[in-house]
């Protein structure tokens, strides 16, 4: 899928993250190189504790690496200010979490529009975009519901809608089906297929072989290191 002409949207070079020191030193991410090109879906699998979440946090600028670099659209993001990182998160990368992380007191549409509001969109434009996305994701009738009134699969769809509201370059999903039953998992699986078909760049950390199967490239992670997998 990738060819030499494609400049990577996201690139990691010798990326490292360590926790603790001395005896208790943990190399959560240990020398990861990764290029992700536009429109590509990358899947990362691996046992619990091997460093998948940490890697995603580094790639999206939620956490700072101990060494190595991360480039987004060619620009280094591992050494920029917190404020610049925050700006970048508004428009360039967004996250989908295993436990959804929706605000309990906000309705579905209010959760989705929040990213747009934080990015400085007008309330009306933010609302319109949020309704549109919920519509596309089959939640039109649920936009005024609180998260507590939605099923797990529906909540995750709301979270995906929120991730898409600022049209990010890359969506980073950390075990998006980890908290879902199998019916809801199929639902979200279809959603990611559709996103892929629409050309969205995606990095998905998952245990689910079916999600991994939809990816353009698959990696396995072990003890902080990344290894390519052949189909």
């Amino acid at each position: 899928m990738s060819n030499a002409a494609d400049t990577p949207v996201l690139r990691a070079l010798g990326l490292r993250k360590e926790y603790g020191k001395g005896e208790g030193l943990v190399r959560a991410v240990d020398g990861v190189d990764l290029d992700v090109v536009n429109g590509e879906t990358v899947a990362i699998t691996g046992p619990s504790g091997c460093g998948k979440s940490t890697l995603l946090h580094l790639l999206g600028g939620l956490d700072r690496p101990s060494g190595g670099e991360v480039r987004l659209n060619g620009r280094r993001i591992d050494d920029i200010s917190e404020k610049a990182l925050a700006r970048m998160r508004r428009t360039d990368v967004s996250y989908v979490f295993q436990s959804f992380h929706l605000m309990e007191e906000l309705t579905a549409v209010e959760n989705v529009e929040l990213s747009a509001l934080l990015a400085g969109r007008s309330p009306r434009a933010a609302r319109r975009r949020a309704e549109e996305l919920l519509d596309q994701l089959g939640l039109a009738g649920r936009s005024r519901f609180l998260p507590s009134a939605l099923s797990g699969g529906q909540r995750q769809r709301v979270a995906v809608a929120r991730a898409l509201s600022n049209e990010p370059l890359v969506v980073l999903a950390d075990e998006p089906t980890g908290n879902l039953d199998s019916a809801a998992t199929l639902d979200v699986l279809q959603l990611f297929k559709d996103l892929h078909d629409a050309g969205q760049t995606l990095i998905i950390v998952t245990h689910d072989a079916r999600i991994a199967a939809t990816a353009d490239r698959k990696f396995s992670m072990r003890d902080g290191a990344l290894a390519g997998l052949e189909d």
């Binding site: 925050a86 508004r90 309990e104 007191e105 529009e113 934080l118 400085g120 309330p123 929120r162």
Partner: protein
Amino acid sequence: MGSILLVLRLALRDLRRRRTEAALLLLAILAATTTLTLGLVLRDAASDPYESTRAATKGPDVVANVGRVTDLADLEKLATASGVTEHSGPYSVIAGKLEVSDRTSDVQVEGRDATIAAVDQPEVTQGSWVSDGGVVLEAAFADSLDVGVGDSVTLGGRSFKVVGVAVTAAMPPYPGASCIVSAGCINGAIPDDRDLPAGLLHNPGLVWLTQADVRSLASDRSSLSYVMNLKLANPDKAQAFVDRTGGDHGGAMPMQSWESILADATDLARDSQILLLIGAWLLGLLAVASLSVLVGGRMADQTRRVGLLKAVGGTPGLVAAVLLAEYLLVAVVAAAAGLTIGALTAPLLTESSAGLVGSAGTASLTWSTIGLVTAVALGVAVVATAVPAVRAARSSTVSALADAARPPRRTGWLITLSARLPVPLLLALRVAARRPRRVALGVVSIAITVSGNYVLMVLNAFLGDQPGTGAYTETQVAVLRHVLLVWTVILLSLAAVNAIVITWATVLDNRHASALARALGATPREVTVALATAQVLPALLGAVMGVFPGGFLLFAAINTITGGDSDKATLPVPWQLIGLVLATVLVVAALTSVPAHLGGRRPVTETL
């Protein structure tokens, strides 16, 4: 035995794990126990101080005096007048000047026997009773001159050693003394443009010498006046006795009933006592506000912990025991510290009023105070334990575990409204909207503080005018100012504790929401400003409400209770009120900035 150790270990570990929270909880219970201790000690010390002095000093029912030796016979006749059961005197009295270091004050010097008198035997609070060459000073007078046993003073050109300090019920304490010398006295401030008639005593203090020393001070017998103390068969008829007996003598003989001394003596004391009482109430309300924020927040958190302990095999009993042990530890420390601080601070307040009322009793801890304060602290502990323990015992382990602390409230219109605002305000309003009860407590807490301050401003301005009007003397104004100052300091400290407690609770409570907002692209600064603004907006509301209606109502209430005359008070002008509101908001902003800053900078990935 083993299970007690386990319970203690689990409790201590949890307290250590959440040190800041434990410290704030300690602080809040401490504030409550200190306030309560202060209130109780002051109540004990200030209840009927004149009555207790009167009982302790065999206080007279009537004090009579004459200014001339020729009238001495008339005075002596009173000893056998109908209705009189006991008497002491006549004692000689002389007007004079007392000098100590660089200060000079007018005094009335009363000559007494070294032996115990049947009526009006002043209670020595320091040192001993009069002896030749030794002078005893009235307590409030000694206090105002800052003179104590062992010091030397000069009286009528002769040096005397201060051998004692005493209180009496025969005369209001300094500077309200009644006049028992023929020269005449004037109390209160004197306008600069008025000269006193020669010989008139100004704010005289009262001192006691031996009869012999008084006679030796007198140039001749005509400079002496005489005073006699009488006990009546029926003390309730003292005023009638004065009217009747004074009348017999053509009104020539000045007499005072104990009721009129009481009225003079407790005038100022009553004012300062009311101040203290109202202060204690305000402080109590503040303490309740901070306690309910902290304990309420913790209770929700603990429900989950109980579920966790149950999940790993703890019996509901063990779980409740751990919780109880945790709170008991904090409560016992807080009660002990609160009793100590309260008992140590109370004299700061009563010293002044003890001098005022000449109270023989000083502020001290009684067993009932200790019991009550400890009971309240333990009560907080038990309630704080019982609610989550019962809740968790009733609910299944799973649902207790899943209970996401207290679910935040949804306030739809605020969420819609906030969408139109800049990001920090948007987040701030939503932070506030999530916990309306806490916001309300914050508003109330600030409103109480500001209305307290408003009243303090009015009183301060009022006292500032006093030396001119003569209702209070400078010393009295100083005493009242001192009371106001202590009051203000305690009020402000407690309010500051509240602001920090509430902000910290908000920061903890919003950990997840803050991290999420940052993951979605809010900057640390925006989150910090939001957390601080969520405190400052209620503070602004509270400050405005504290001025109006809070301050106005509180002042009106004080006026009603004291029967004071609000026309005499100068109300703060608008710019002072605006200043008060702005200062409050600034202080709250400063106090909340540190916790808010910490909350805004917390690494996102640690929370999500």
